[in-house]
Symmetry: C2
Subunit: 434 residues, 2 copies
């Protein structure tokens, strides 16, 4: 089967066989299938889609293009969470220690932020000394010692995906559900996990803005995971306002530590507990979700989660004293307070705009090569539905470089809609796919 025939078959709406998908991805990984054929196929997939069988085959082919971790020597279930990304979405730093404290292994390989969204690695790197670039051998060692490990993509994991993703980025073929799902799942399934909970964000600050698109993506990813014989479920959760009260790396890391101490914002704590509970349930270490939630809450209340976080920081070269002294994290030189021009309620927070403003301050990346500043970001003193008085502070910008401050400030001011009434409350978890 020549690559051009595979492209043509997909172009004409035929179902690709597992063998031809493997041949195409294998050839692409080895450099035998050139970029121009891969981009043509990606565009054909954009228009024609892929069914579940094709998407599973694509995911497996991309996963097998590199190393697949074998963690079978670790005595217990291995579980992870993946989020499709949002603004202030920082649950990983809370739930990974909580789940590990409840007796499952969490081999978490994460990404960096881009555009208006943040990334787990950037938050971890706000901790002085923390090394996200462990070798796979070091990763395995950290995992076996404390039950969790938090690293970045390594060259060994799914190289076909890395190559294809970079190509899709410059050929307008990113927005294809099977390609998005296969990209995510090929990396997650290479972690050697038994189970995975997916947190698919929906709303203004999410990659998928519409609920229907988010649901469809969740369904595709669940189908892939199950097609590969893993326990996978998904929650579709709200991203119509940032999660928690902070956006920006050191700010978010402090907020996670606070949450592990039982002093975090309600939405962040609640979603972290819920996702931890799902991890425990999918891992099969509890009888049901209620027990799982109780176990997760207990790990939080007892400080066992915080203890795990302290351990993993130390094992990965970071300074665990950040857990006791937030002054050890980077702090911005200035703060700028935004105050309400009127009495009212927070009726809307344009979520993507908040993420974008944080990026302008230096908290996020405009392009993959941008450098970020861990110290800067935005604190949301008020969130959706909160009452706010005239002159009262609703947001605080943490600033080092003032060059784009005016633009960022205006963006946050425009993002906050303060009106007479609170919006109807919408649930944090919009849908459960189980």
């Amino acid at each position: 089967m020549r690559a051009v025939d595979t492209i043509q078959r997909k172009r004409d709406g035929q179902e690709l066989t597992r063998a031809e998908i493997e041949a195409f991805i294998g050839g692409y990984t080895r450099g035998e299938v050139p970029d121009y054929q891969a981009s043509a196929l990606a565009m054909a997939v954009f228009f024609r889609g892929m069914n579940d069988a094709e998407t599973v085959a694509l995911t497996e082919a991309m996963m097998r293009s590199g190393e697949v971790l074998d963690l079978s020597s670790l005595p217990g279930p291995k579980v992870d969470k993946h989020s499709t990304g949002g603004v202030g979405d920082k649950t990983s730093l809370v739930l990974a220690p909580l789940a590990a404290a409840c007796g499952v292994y969490v081999p978490m390989i994460s990404g960096r932020g881009l555009g208006h969204t943040g990334g787990t690695l950037d938050k971890l790197e706000a901790i002085p000394g923390f090394r996200v670039g462990l070798s796979l051998a070091e990763f395995r060692d950290v995992l076996s010692r404390c039950g969790l490990g938090l690293i970045g993509q390594t060259p060994e994991i799914a190289p076909a995906d890395r190559k294809l993703y970079a190509l899709r980025d410059v050929t307008a073929t990113v927005e294809s559900r099977p390609l998005i799902a296969a990209s995510i799942m090929s990396k997650k399934m290479a972690e050697g996990i038994d189970a995975l909970i997916l947190d698919v964000k929906t709303g203004d600050g999410a990659f998928m803005k519409s609920f229907e698109d988010s649901k469809a993506l969740a369904e595709t990813m669940v189908a892939i995971g199950r097609g590969m014989g893993k326990k996978v479920s998904a929650l579709v959760t709200d991203m119509d306002q940032p999660l928690g009260r902070t956006v920006g790396n050191a700010l978010e890391t402090v907020e996670c530590i606070e949450t592990l101490k039982g002093r975090g914002p309600r939405d962040l704590e609640s979603l972290s507990i819920e996702l931890t509970a799902w991890m425990l349930r999918l891992a099969g270490v509890v009888a049901g979700l209620d027990e799982a939630r109780a176990r997760a809450r207990e790990a939080l209340a007892s400080g066992a989660g915080l203890e795990k976080f302290r351990q993993v920081i130390e094992l990965q070269g970071g300074d665990p004293r950040v857990c006791d002294d937030s002054g050890r994290l980077a702090k911005a030189a200035y703060t700028v307070e935004l105050r309400s021009p009127r009495d009212g309620r927070v009726a809307g927070i344009a979520c993507r705009a908040i993420g974008h403003a944080a990026m302008l301050l230096g908290a996020g990346r405009e392009t993959v090569d941008s450098r970020i500043d861990a110290a800067v970001g935005i604190v949301l003193d008020k969130k959706l539905g909160d009452p706010v008085a005239r002159g009262e502070r609703y947001a605080t910008l943490h600033v080092n470089d003032k060059r784009r401050l005016a633009e960022a400030r205006r963006m946050v001011e425009d993002a906050f809609r303060i009106g007479p009434e609170a919006p109807p409350a919408s649930p944090l978890v919009r849908l459960v796919l189980d």
Copy 2:
């Protein structure tokens, strides 16, 4: 405008502007836009199409990627014909001399055969010494001396098209009407012509098998030509059986010479006269089509057309004695005669299969790098509707290399359907777009 944005806009069904098409094609020609972006755009165009304005802009951008001949110093209208290609389609060798004999300039840049279709250059090269690879300066000189010139694609003409066509061939993006039309027209319009008659073939032996597809391609090409300010009309003509009685390069060249002597097969003569007449009419050198046909017939009857052919052969380095002595052209070592197993009429000739069989004998190219044998081919002793007696010859294979003879022979035998009745006669010219 970044290339990726242009791809995305087309992907999403938006109309591309002339400026962005120029930027994309210009960048592609200079190597700044890589192949993988061009193939992604081509696939997006495959799915979304292009309207006439976009297709005109694309054609102009590809034309302007190289040299556009300026023939304004030649004192008279410049006209050409383009055929989308078929089996035994050899009108160029007849109509170009006829039109030149009638006082218009014919600066014809042609292609080679591929697959089941033949090419004008291959037929010309059957003439000993004939050089199709003239420089543009030599071409201009020949044109000015005898009113016609017959050469192949030069590197200066539409390099963007050459690059894009090679890419489309390996990315399953050939079959897109605007891309096909722009590819053809960018080269033709670079000839510096005032007018063009298009011969769009339809039927089993054509690139476009269905009448509707052929008509649509003709319409698009006419729209492009007129959008570029040229006189362009199109005929959609029958390719449900080979044109004339010969398929194979030297055989076809002899048939053209015979036709210029008034002894050719009726369909070839008739279509050549008709296309010549359209060239004269579009050039504006006659009052109407009837006068144009009369002029073309006169050029044939008087031998003026043959005289022009003799001249151009001599000026392009060929041996003009082939016009008097067909023995100066290559002859195959063997002939194999196919005889009818029954009395009847020729009820069908699978046209593409005849072209394919000729290719197997060595008359055509399996890939662009294949070498061809000018001497070999197929003579159709009977054509659609002809009566044939049991034991009577209906086709003759001209053979040098016997390796694929059995396969070719079976193919021709299967291609001829001899039944009790003649098929309904279908007109040679199926549609006129004027």
